[in-house]
Amino acid sequence: MIEHYLSLSILLFCLGVLGVISRRNVFVVFMSIELMLNAANLGFVTVARLHQSMDGHVLALMVMAVAAAEAALALAVVILLHKHKGNLDTNIFSLLKG
């Protein structure tokens, strides 16, 4: 049974990675990152259940708190990006090009 939970977690995580890599809209990239965080949470909770320990639950709650803070920050950044260029295509923002 545990294996299924873990497989789902890995699947969700890979979907998130794929989303970050393949999508060009900043919002979708952001949502993919959230997906990866939740996949990790699922993993934590699963393993906590497996080991009958509270550590995983604590970590999952921590990740949620961090994700909330991160969401607030990231959305502000997204708004600024939109103000700056009027567009949310990640390919426009390539200032780091060497």
């Binding site: 990675v17 970050v20 890599i21 393949s22 060009r24 990239v29 990640t90 390919n91 923002f93 390539s94 200032l95 780091l96 090009k97 060497g98």
Partner: protein, 638 residues
């Protein structure tokens, strides 16, 4: 037997503090409102004068002690401590350093007072006094230092100050060149001094590196090492005290303001070399060969200086070469182990040479900065005080009995003769005659005869009191200083020599009365001959001579400057250019540039992967993390 005296530290500190205060005052006001010259003058003179009073105090403190224990010292603070060597900023007052101290502060103070008049109206009045104070303070550190290292601090300090003051009128390129020359030539000498110190430390420095410990351990020094140390230290002295072959900077040092020349030639700087040799008399007494070298170089310098002095036309150049010549006498004295005679000549020379320079400054100022003696003449009536005081100075310099120079010079010549150095004595007598000739050539041409430049003559007027007063005081010194060391034949007791005895390692020569009479007779005869030739040629005027043959050769100082320029300076400069063009770009800069190029190329190569798209960076991250996880799982054997 050593006492402690904390006032010693204040003697160099006062002029140094004065220099700092004056310097700050000058810096604070050089752009905006200016401080009155009176305030600068007051601050500038108070340090040296207080130092002089303290020096007198120290003198009496020493005199109260029994003769063999006249050593007072003061350790101000620990300077540095490396391994087994601990050097403290210590000061030592013994008969030798106190004698130096007295005349350095006395003559130095008078020169400060004189400068108030001479430099009046100078735009950087405060800067000048600041340098002057610094100069005096450095000299006092040199004299009072209780070991070679502290002496070296002062030694370098006076070198620096001479550079600053010689090129004081720095708008003129020639003055800056003269300052550079003085500094560089001195550095060459300092190199010898540093090496000498290093050898000395290597030899006997482990037990303590101050004069008293060194003196106690001097007998442990191997003879060859002793001679090496003495010769190396003497190289330092040839730089500082302008002896062959490093004398060339001193005549050029005339570029500075005249009070500076007086300070360099009389009270500070050039006397340092003689003082140093006398200070290390315990070493030189062991190394007779080194002493002979010192004596012969000294007397040859005396001869050379006198020859050059006879054929100069610039009033200050004549005096400059006379200083070179007189310094030669001093080294001849300390070289033949008559240390007290050498130091006594330093002492009397300080009075009459300061007097002559300050008098020359008065003449130069009266004639609006004319220095060529062939534009002067007949100034006797216009500048009476300057004339009479300079006459006293010239008589003292020429060695006319009973002026100061006679006794001190005679003491050196007598010591040379009694010590069996007949050659040195003979040259010394010849130089005495030449000295009489050139000093009276100067007096006659400048003050007697008819005015050669009517317009300058008409505008000439005597200097203000603040300048003539120091002249009068120095003239009194030049008249009577000789009596302090009256030899037995004139009913004296050689008081200065006996006073100096505890500091020096010397054996007084016991010549017969005949030797003494011969020495005195020789000097007096030379003086009379020299002065009569000068009288016959110049007393009633005379025109500027056209130098031909040997005279032209001597007028151009045997072309020594040109020789040094060709043999040393130019090849050195050529070498420098070669290094700049070949060695620097290819040998030293080459590898550095190659490394820089390598980084540049690596940067260009790695630039390709920096595409700037967030997605791509995410891919890099995923790849990286995957590889890391893989490696981690491998190593942990999952």
């Amino acid at each position: 037997m050593e006492g402690n005296l904390s006032t010693l530290g204040y003697i160099p500190l006062l002029p140094l503090a004065g220099a700092l205060v004056l310097g700050l005052m000058h810096l604070a006001t050089c752009r905006g409102r200016r401080i009155s010259e009176r305030i600068y003058a007051l601050v500038g003179c108070i340090g040296p004068i207080l130092s002089f009073l303290l020096a007198v105090n120290v003198f009496f403190a020493l005199q109260a002690l029994p003769a063999q224990s006249r050593f007072l010292s003061h350790q101000a603070f620990t300077w540095f401590s490396v391994g087994e060597l601990t050097v403290s900023m210590g000061f030592l007052a013994d008969p030798l350093s106190v004698l130096m101290l007295l005349f350095v502060t006395f003559v130095g103070s008078l020169i400060h007072v004189y400068s108030i008049g001479y430099m009046a109206g100078d735009p950087a009045f405060g800067k000048f006094f600041s340098y002057l104070n610094l100069f005096l303070g450095s000299m006092l550190i040199l004299v009072l230092g209780d070991g070679p290292l502290v002496m070296f601090v002062g030694w370098e300090g006076v070198g620096l100050c001479s550079y600053l003051l010689i090129s004081y009128y720095s708008e003129d390129r020639g003055n800056v060149v003269a300052g550079n020359k003085a500094f560089i030539v001195n550095r060459i000498g300092d190199f010898g001094f540093v090496l000498g110190m290093a050898f000395l430390f290597w030899g006997i420095g482990a037990e303590g590196f101050d004069y008293l410990s060194l003196k106690a351990n001097a007998h442990l020094l191997a003879p060859t090492l002793g001679i090496t140390v003495c010769l190396l230290l003497f190289i330092g002295a040839t730089g500082k005290s302008a002896q062959i072959p490093l004398y060339v900077w001193l005549p050029d040092a005339m570029a500075g303001p005249t009070p500076v020349s007086a300070l360099i030639h009389a009270a500070t700087m050039v006397t340092a070399g003689v003082y140093m040799v006398a200070r290390f008399s315990f070493l030189y007494a062991q190394a007779e060969v080194a002493g002979l070298v010192v004596a012969w170089i000294g007397i040859m310098t005396a001869l050379l200086g006198a020859i050059f002095g006879m054929f100069q036309n610039d009033i200050k150049k004549i005096l400059a070469y006379s200083t070179v010549s007189q310094l030669g006498y001093m080294f001849a004295g300390v070289g033949v182990a008559a240390y007290s005679a050498g130091i006594f000549h330093v002492f009397t020379h300080a009075f009459f040479k300061a007097l002559l320079f300050l008098g020359a400054g008065s003449v130069i100022l009266a004639l609006h900065h004319r220095q060529d003696i062939w534009q002067m003449g007949g100034l006797k009536n216009k500048l009476p005080i300057t004339y009479w005081t300079m006459l006293v100075g010239a008589l003292a310099l020429a060695g006319c009995p009973p002026f100061a120079g006679f006794f001190s010079k005679d003491e050196i010549l007598y010591s040379a003769l009694a010590g069996g150095h007949t050659g040195i004595w003979a040259i010394g007598v010849l130089v005495a005659g030449m000295t009489a000739y050139y000093s009276f050539r100067l007096i006659f041409v400048v003050f007697h005869g008819q005015p050669r430049d009517r317009e300058a003559y008409d505008h000439a007027h005597e200097s203000p009191k603040v300048m003539t007063l120091p002249l009068i005081v120095l003239a009194v010194g030049a008249l009577f200083a000789g009596f302090l060391n009256l030899p037995a034949i004139f009913g004296g007791h050689l008081q200065v020599s006996h006073w100096l005895a505890p500091s020096l390692t010397e054996v007084h020569p016991h010549g017969s009365i005949a030797t003494e009479v011969l020495a005195i007779g020789g000097s007096v005869l030379a003086f009379v001959i020299g002065i009569s030739i000068a009288y016959r040629r110049f007393a009633t005027g005379g025109e500027q001579p056209v130098f031909t043959g040997f005279r032209k050769f001597a007028h151009h100082k045997f072309y020594v400057d040109e020789l040094y320029d060709t043999v040393l300076v130019r090849p050195y400069r050529f070498l420098g250019q070669a290094v700049e063009r070949v060695v620097e770009p290819f040998v030293t800069d080459g590898p550095v540039r190659a490394v820089a190029w390598l980084y540049r190329m690596a940067g260009l190569a790695f630039k390709v992967i920096q595409v700037g798209y967030v997605r791509v960076y995410a891919i890099y991250m995923v790849i990286g993390l995957s590889v890391m996880s893989l490696v981690l799982s491998q190593s942990l054997n999952f």
